[in-house]
Amino acid sequence: MIELNTLTYLFMAVAGVVSLIATYLTIVENDLVKAVIFSALQSTVYTIIYYLLMAPDIALVYIPVSVGLYPAVILFLIKKTERTEGDLEGSGGDSLIGIYLTALAAVLIGLITGLNAYVFQNQPKLDAPVGIPAQVSNALISGTLFFFNLSEYLAVASGFTLVFMLLSIPEEIVRSFISGEAHE
């Protein structure tokens, strides 16, 4: 009978070996798009390692940054440097409202009910009965951190949309602008 600890360590070892293979393929690969995909695989495996090493908060932050945003940025850079133009539908978002709402929700409930409320906590507090729960049926969601991370992801994504719009300016226009400045 295999023990739970051994199973955890087995998953860790398998994840480590898979990340080793993915890193090797990333560095050796000549096609940069394939290299980015292997790098995303390595990031996914690192997320599993974070979760197994009892760091669920890090896993929550690491998934959108390293599996979503970072390969997107590198892929756009590859597209630009290989001169294949792509269409971009930019969509701004007011996701910062989500952060405000998360920060204010507990305060508003506390003001209405007259109880103590807590903000910015990932675990229950003694003197404050009102707050966002840290745990939903034995799964840690880290209280406000979960909603902060979700809103931050959307806010950073909308900011990156602006970056992508800058990156999607055609190269000829940029070059003529740069050379025009150089002649003046």
Binding site: E3, V17, L53, M54, I74, L77, E171
Partner: protein, 135 residues
Amino acid sequence: MNELNVFLFNTLLFSLFFNAGISLYGIFARPSLIKKIIALTIFSDTANVLAIVVGYRTWPSPEQSPIPPVITTTNPTTEDIARFASQAVDPLPQALVLTAIVIGLAVTLFLVFLTLQVYRLYGTTDVRRVAKLRG
């Protein structure tokens, strides 16, 4: 069974160190600037995972598994706090790594724009050809 656990954990550690070595090779030896950025990201991620590994607690007895550093009870008793202190992993590396991930994203974006500007000015992202250009 204990030797098997140690072997499996060492496998993870050796994989991480080899990852760091391979990504350092990618940073120094590969010619493409984009490949250098990818390798730098892998290296920083590996350093983050190593920091988390340092904070991981591997020494509890086999019937006690480590838990995340979060108290989930509203009114913790003394036994709860003692059990938490004897089982929870170190939260300090996790706080540091949380900051390092976000800062690493900003640094990556800066390097992406530098690479794009190099391509706009020199027409290539190969450092061997950039080094041969003059003016």
